[in-house]
Amino acid sequence: MTREELIASLKNIVKPYAQDLEAFNNLSEETDFIKDLKINSANLIDVILDLEDEFDIEIDNDSMEKMLSVKAAMEIIEFKLLDS
């Protein structure tokens, strides 16, 4: 999977939870889930569960802890996919 494909699939996952549409439309690796997209923190759990389903990976607590931005999410997914 290329980085562009990964970003596209992440964008699709966060779409229902993003409250700031402008930030969502301009989503990049630097986008912060809470500060920029204004995702409600309880919905961050949904994002994590959706990522687990989509990529068939398990996101443990230590990985979840870092899951605050698109970049961090991409790194975690790439790492877990290599690992599996």
Partner: protein, 184 residues
Amino acid sequence: MIGNDIIDLSFAKTQSNWQRSGFLEKQFTKDEQQLILASLNPFVLVWKLWSMKEAAYKIYTQQNEKRFFCPIKFECSLISEKEGLVFFQNQFFYTSSIVTDSYILTIANQNKEIKVFSKLVAPKGIDNIIKLKLQDVTRLPSSEIEQKKSKNGAPNYYHKNLLLTRSCSISHHGNYGLFSLLYA
């Protein structure tokens, strides 16, 4: 330091599904999950415990520059209907929660002897309401009071370079806004 959290229950109902597979396991300890599942109203307890974790996290972010997302590591226990304790990294946070049919709010405090001023308001214009409150308390004009945020987003209020709030926490969700202040 203080931290707060507000949950609009009508929004919580539509924004999240606490019965979704994995939802409880990801954010609640085994003990908390047992409490929730044994409760007469698990939906309310899910959000009460969540608000305790969030309020405690907001104290942590005022003390530390690092942001992170790990609600499961904030371990909650309930002392009474209203009072609770959150344990995180060798620290205890005292919490006080109010549960109504429409909302749940929690105020977390490091020192339960210290009095906190908190107010539930509409989510819009909360910054102005805080400035007017500080004007009342300090007699400084609200137009000269400014909010400044730390690197990780924790707010405080200043008049020129004078710090007016020793600790400040602001939450909003759905139709509610909540602010809590410890005066400097």
